[in-house]
Amino acid sequence: MVDPALPTPSSPVVHRGDVAGVGRRHNPSLVAGALLVALVVVVALVSFVWTPYAPSRVDTSSRLLGLSAEHWLGTDKFGRDVASQIMVGARTTIFVGVIAVGVAAVVGVPLGVLAAMGPRWLGQLVMRTSDLVLAFPALLLAIMFGAVYGSSTLTAMVAIGIATIPSFARVTRAGALQVLSREYVLAARVAGRRRLAIAVRHVLPNVSSLVIVQVSVSFAIAVLAEAALSFLGLGTPLTTPSWGRMLQESQELLSVAPRLAVVPGVAIAVAVLGFNLLGDGLRDRYDPKLERAS
């Protein structure tokens, strides 16, 4: 829920070599974030080959069981194993995040470079358009897509992806503008290099650290958006376990089994916290001069 476009680092362009040594200093955010993200990713990967039970297996004889050796996180009102659903839910979360953030980066980064290097009017056009897209948050887009095409994992991913494009375009543009003012770019221009070559050889490598930070932060936002959408029934279909849907199903049983809300809630918080910390840590690492902004 942090606006990703806000904290534009003041001096982002750093060659990796420049920070050698500095980057290896104590960085608890990076370590904690990486560990949490790794946890979610590993759980998602393991769910492909193994879950304690089939996640959608209904077993009416074991409804609403508490924590036990057989069911680590208990069972829900249909007797489905909560731990298995959390594991498969991690898969859904990562999948939606990867596609949505991937789309946003693939579209947003070239747009940002174009906005920085192209003619002035083009830059203005890209920036004004991205302002406009910011008025359509992921949830609104997903509702619009859902109303027209019916809700699915695809509409959720596309909606989150489109809503995330502006932050990539802005971050890339800001970074690219700084690179373009450097002497080595001037030298390359004087040497007669074409714009495309300058973009590929100088601009892209130097904004990559910014983009990586943005990927991590955007991933956190995508996880939140996906959870909200599946909570509302506007995301993944009923048959696919997802953390948001688990929360939604838990709501009628809060007096009987609050655990059913807490477990997916913790999963969402762990994933978001992980990606946010990772983003903070990477930002510190790439730009040690910068005070952690958000």
Binding site: V2, D131, L132, L134, A135, A147, V148, F231, A261
Partner: protein, 314 residues
Amino acid sequence: MLLRVLVRAGVLAASLAVSSVVVFGFLAALPGDPARVALGVNATEESVAALRTEFGLDRSLGDQYVDWVGGMITGDPGRSYVSKAEIGPQLADRMQVTLWLVASATLIAVIIALPAGTLMAVRHGRRSGLLLAGLSQLGVAVPAFLAGILLITLFAVRLRWLPSGGWTPPVEDPAMFLRQLTLPALALGVVQGAVLSRYVRSAVIDVLREDYLRTARAKGLTSLRALWRHGLRNAMVPVVTVLGLQLATLLIGAVVVERVFVVPGLGKLLLDAVANRDLLLVQAVVMVLVVAVLVVNFVVDLLYAVLDPRLRHG
């Protein structure tokens, strides 16, 4: 200053125009026939045709668009294809509910974020500062609807202090209104406060490094008093921006939180409309939300200039 207002107003008008085309085009033009969508797959050709004529869907898209925009501007967006009810009064009704929710959440967020963020900045690097920073990081990771469910579990189900949902207009029963407003407003506000406090923290840290603050401290003021007298106004410039941009998040968060607490606001109206395939209603609510976001951004931009005199002439 006047020029700035005019330019910004122009941008606002253009944005409103473009987004109205987007919303209209997306929901009315793309999917084929709204009348068929509203009536469902089993509808006969005659009933679809009748509905099309009744709502003027047989006219050209341009005419429909002009009609729709005109209706939105004059506060009369027409009647729903599905329930046949007038949309305007529904919008006005539901908007009030959402406004109460968003306004009280904003208030809660500011009440939390200003002291917490300032404290984090002043205690920067010390244990209490780190503890608060960790808490805010955790708050950012909790979506508002999850906070809502947890608040219901604790205060409504376990302690039975407050109702788990529902809505009473303030004129009917002010006490009940407040009791029902508290939990959803907290769910939205606390999370937003956590986000905001991180921006307050970095803004205050920036201000603390300024020369004028060092001068103020050299005069003998404590760092908190120096901040209060000289720093806060400057720290507020970025904070107000974030607060404005957060309003979009808050409105959208309200959509989900209204579902959690069964609050009959714009969000519930929108989600019900989606469930009923009531495209005209969806269109109207989406447009209202987009207009709200754009107008708030416009106001924030002007406020920005009021707070920071340097920008007035920029």
